[in-house]
Symmetry: C2
């Protein structure tokens, strides 16, 4: 049998990211994980603690997702890979759930947690500088605002054409460079 703590985390990630933190009950999580409800509180102290465990885990998944961008030297590829982040969110089930939870939690708790994006801001700023943009940092923030818009639409608008949109944005950045 797999570690029961792990099963709780998986069930909670699925349910929180699907229905949100507030309307997911601990009894529901226990049922989904095939575990007694008390075990949740043994391992995570309370419901909030369970969420925090998931958030911490998610942060590491996100760091791993950013790493190939941070080590990229070609500035144009830094930008391309940043835009392609949203495609990865769609294609990797694990990342899909983590980011959905991330954004849902943001809106439930009204905290953006900007520090998580800081390394990406840095990498993008550098990239735009190399490409000769005057307001490189502004450009970096602007691109991430667009990513936020894409993510929002991707999760919430069923018929949103993510491929077309990301391609469109990448084209924009292409001709402003060459």
């Amino acid at each position: 049998m797999i570690d029961k703590k792990e099963k709780i985390l998986q069930a909670a990630l699925q349910l929180f990211s699907e229905d949100g933190f507030a309307k997911t009950s601990t009894s529901r999580i226990a049922k989904e994980a095939h575990v007694s409800e008390g075990l949740i509180f043994r391992h995570f102290k309370n419901k909030e603690g369970l969420l925090q465990s998931l958030t911490k885990r998610g942060e590491e998944k996100t760091k791993a997702l950013f790493r190939p961008i941070l080590f990229e030297t070609d500035p144009q590829k830094v930008i391309k890979k940043t835009i392609d982040l949203v495609i990865k969110i769609r294609e990797v089930e694990e990342i899909f759930q983590v980011w959905k939870l991330e954004y849902k939690t943001k809106w439930e708790a009204e905290e953006y947690g900007a520090h998580k994006m800081e390394p990406l801001v840095f990498a993008l700023t550098e990239a735009f500088q190399k490409m000769g943009f005057k307001e490189a940092k502004q450009e970096a923030h602007y691109l991430l605002v667009q990513v936020d818009g894409l993510v929002t639409r991707f999760y919430l608008q069923k018929d949103f054409d993510l491929d077309a949109s990301t391609h469109f944005i990448k084209e924009k950045y292409k001709w402003s460079y060459t």
Copy 2:
């Protein structure tokens, strides 16, 4: 004494937009509105019905907000006014709450309600056509994705510099035109 139905709606708008639908209880709304809890169910049938009343009202507020854009003939001003929407959201308390509720509800229910933006898509498409853009409709959608990003950041990131960002975006569209 003001209409008690109206007081319920105001209290609910405030609490739903602040804490979200799921974690706002009907008893809390009644207390805030200085009204017996039963009255909520007399007027709105159930909690969901109360939310729907607010949504319907909000939709009209939003239409009124869009109107000056739809009647604008100068294409460049259509774009400028669309970007400035986000500034209006910040500055008009009423709109501030309505849109916050709108986005919170979107993320709780996972439904984008794209139809509400349809008239704006149309106006923007026309504007980009007049300005000689080839993929005018794509451009329209792209601008609205950016608006979604701005709104997300404005509500969730406390230290987000909305003025700088909107100004930056407007500049982009200025030089791509002249």
